[in-house]
Symmetry: C2
Subunit: 228 residues, 2 copies
């Protein structure tokens, strides 16, 4: 996996003229290692070796292991912002407006779910970023607060609000927050426990037909969650 990332340093989208800098390479490899091994499990030597540099280079660019981890978290917040913010911002705008009907809220929720399904069944780099976030939320390493405050919490609060509106309430109650957590959690385990999912489903969750089935199940569960 890490080898594959090394040999494909650039996403097909960015036709970057200048080659990837050492700092960017360490960041990318570090994200992969932390996502796969966890903060304690990923060693600085492992990351340095996979990035094709020596140990002090990491210290030079990021101070220490904590700094690298934090930098990975910051990078991911930026990445996910670019990807998810468009739909999230539009939905929040509509929700704050107060003019959202229950049906419209439901459509927004389905759109968000589709975006998240796409995120966890996307290319390796994006999936590793997602894994990094999910692992960090349970490990609480150096990047925890950043990811929780900047990514997880606002996203979850938006979903909870939309659920409330979809269920005909104007304000969120405790149950909406529980529902939001559980709904999105149903998706997260598919990437967090990818080996388990692959073994049980007989193939990667990011490939068809699983990709389609996951979206379908998510919509069904959402439907039940907001049913009257």
């Amino acid at each position: 996996m890490i080898d594959r990332l090394l040999s494909a340093p650039l996403s097909p989208l960015e036709v970057s003229p200048e080659p990837e800098t050492t700092r960017q390479r360490i960041l990318r490899v570090g994200m992969a290692c932390f996502a796969q091994e966890g903060f304690a499990g990923a060693t600085t030597r492992m990351i340095a070796s996979a990035a094709g540099v020596t140990l002090p280079v990491i210290a030079y660019h990021f101070g220490n292991k904590d700094g690298l981890h934090l930098a990975c978290a910051e990078e991911i917040v930026e990445q996910h912002r670019r990807r998810l913010l468009p739909v999230a911002a539009a939905a929040r705008c509509a929700a704050d407006d107060g003019s959202l009907t229950a049906d419209q809220a439901r459509i927004w929720l389905e759109k968000i779910l589709a975006t998240l399904v796409a995120a966890i069944t996307a290319d390796d780099e994006q999936r590793l970023a997602t894994d990094f976030v999910l692992r960090e939320l349970s490990e609480q390493g150096p990047g925890y607060h950043l990811l929780y405050e900047e990514l997880w919490k606002p996203g979850m609060e938006l979903v909870a609000e939309l659920i409330a509106i979809a269920r005909g309430r104007s304000a969120t109650v405790e149950g909406d927050r529980v529902g939001a957590m559980m709904l999105l959690a149903s998706l997260s385990s598919l990437t967090r426990d990818e080996p388990v999912a692959s073994a049980f489903l007989g193939g990667s969750a990011s490939e068809e037909p699983h990709r389609t089935l996951i979206g379908e199940c998510a919509r069904r569960m959402l439907s039940g969650l907001i049913a009257a």
Copy 2:
């Protein structure tokens, strides 16, 4: 957390006449450490210290760190078997019988969900066992195969079968398996990401009113999942 376990070595159920053996104590503390810190994060010294013994005692009873971890997994398989097997076996018996109606299957699923909600909102010891399992499924340490084959896989296959019957099919299709995974995953994150859940919900998921709300959301999502 570990301190609390140390000071409360016996579950209120078992009025054991003989005190806990050293081996049992190490096993219990080890489960807690592995559940909280992961296999790499939990050090043998940490476990030995928390159990009130020295390092070689672990080696004496379990060979090495891997052996202790595996023994924890075996202990947990036994524990969960005692707790979950009654309902699981009855459900499987009914499912294999072939005479299960869709409504009956749905009732079985609700019963299983209620059992799992109880498991993740139960006392510390049982929750730590659950955390151990969930962490191991994503980390794939020494105890992975045992937990996957003996606990996770059979349970998930049962749920998938029941979902298929509840949806009016006689055999499970890929979508039922995806649905089973996602349905149970919605519960797992509440204990795996307990700090996140507590921060977001403003209180432990194992306390009211969250306990009730979790069960309610689970039933709603199940309802949507098996809806025609």
